[in-house]
Amino acid sequence: MAFAPVFHSEWIKIRSLRSQLASLATIPAVTALFSALSSSDTGGDDFDPLFAVFFGASFGQIAAIAFGTAAVSAEFQGGALRLSLAAVPRRGRWFAAKATAIAVPVLAVGLVTGVVTLLVGKAVLGAKADALGWAEQVRGVVGCAVYLTLMALFAAGLTALLRSSAATLGILIPFLLIVSFVIGDMSNNIADLLPDRAGQVVLHATWDGAMGPWTGLAVTALWTAAALAAGALSVRRRDA
């Protein structure tokens, strides 16, 4: 069995659900909104113009995670997975197609999100954004898109492992919105290796940890790869 027809099938599944399209549309809306709010409050010594612009990605990632989770969890309801795997018995290939069908739209929407957020954030920051060079702005846009994609895939892999959207979101959302913030403020080297904190270095103009923007994204990519591998193993090993 070739990969392309399986990818096509998974893409139709995503495209034909309004809730999934709504999740995608929420990514730029939420990111830009929270970036506008954070850019309007620029007090403090550790002001970072790039992160002020892309701060909203912390919230936009929730929509990306919801998207990745829903795309996989739908397969674990009412015997949908049995139908999918009866059509595509090569389970590894099926899961790869599913992951690709999640990654492609999130990456595309992520790039749009990056551009929109940059424009909105710069407009709100005004003169304070003048320090941002072209290279940093491009890095922010691309990094934002890649980061959102990796987080959606991270959630997808976790959902395949846990077989439940409630379990996945119940772990990820409190972690991203609460635990990571708290641990991050206590700040030590271990916390810098968490998937979200490592990946968000790319959204900063300056950083003081051991990791730079691209090594940070690479750490997030490792987390994502591990989650996808665990999910793929679960799909392959367990009875459908």
Binding site: S9, E10, S16, G78, G79, A80, R82, A86, P89, D239
Partner: protein, 306 residues
Amino acid sequence: MTSIDVRDLTKEYGTRRAVDHVTFGVRPGKVTGFLGPNGAGKSTTMRLVLGLDRPTSGTATVGGRPYAELTEPLRHVGALLDAQAAHGSRTGRDHLRALAASNRIPVARADAVLEETGLASVARHRVKAYSLGMRQRLGIAGALLGDPEVILLDEPSNGLDPEGIVWIRELLRRLAAEGRTVLVSSHLMNETASFADHLVVLGRGRLLADTPMRDFIDARVQPHVRIRTTDAGALKAALAGHGHDAVEHEEGHWTVTHARVDEIGALLSAAGVPILELASAEGTLEQAYLDLTATETEFTAPNQEA
């Protein structure tokens, strides 16, 4: 080439043995009824055939190959396992389009099977608005999508209205007449009797029977003659004179076993017994099935698992 072959198949879930060393074959050109109470292992066997569950031991093949080795399997094997498999927020047509795309089946086939299953008018409605019967039809449409030679349907009559039940019966007969291999599970005897040529019966995971339906019934239920009369005394006397034994039933009719209706009719006519009703009663699948299960002590155990 298109048979389903199950060889010494066993599946254990923890300590429970859902399928226990089962061997049978399903041949093309006829409808094979797959019978057994809930929990007998019918659905598990179907999942094993489709490569969805891993057998503990034994093999299941379609056309001599394990299902998982088929390329574009929907073109060879169509299955309905669960009517709830379609996502409620997707339209029936989109559900089938996604399924078709994975096996490079043209979209026109999706429209064709929607037409065939009577869903054309609701094809662009969301599945959550479908009745259970419509979801069953959508599941059957999915099974027919790739125009497969082998078809497995798990309880396809579930939730169908009377019209739908007649429809599925005719569909199954037609698919078999076209030379396809058709395996249909059910726990409804009368329903199965209306379409099956051959029977595979499971009980508690074990194979109880694998025979043509007619043989299955004839081996277990004696055909008999049913009579109603206004003169019970004359009836008994006339039958006794020819060595027949008539049994009276509460409803007021009599039955004679080990006899044929043409023989009894002539006999009673010659004796001048007034007859209100004279009929030949064939054994039913239900009677034969109950006879089989009565001899299977495990079936009648009080704590039978559902």
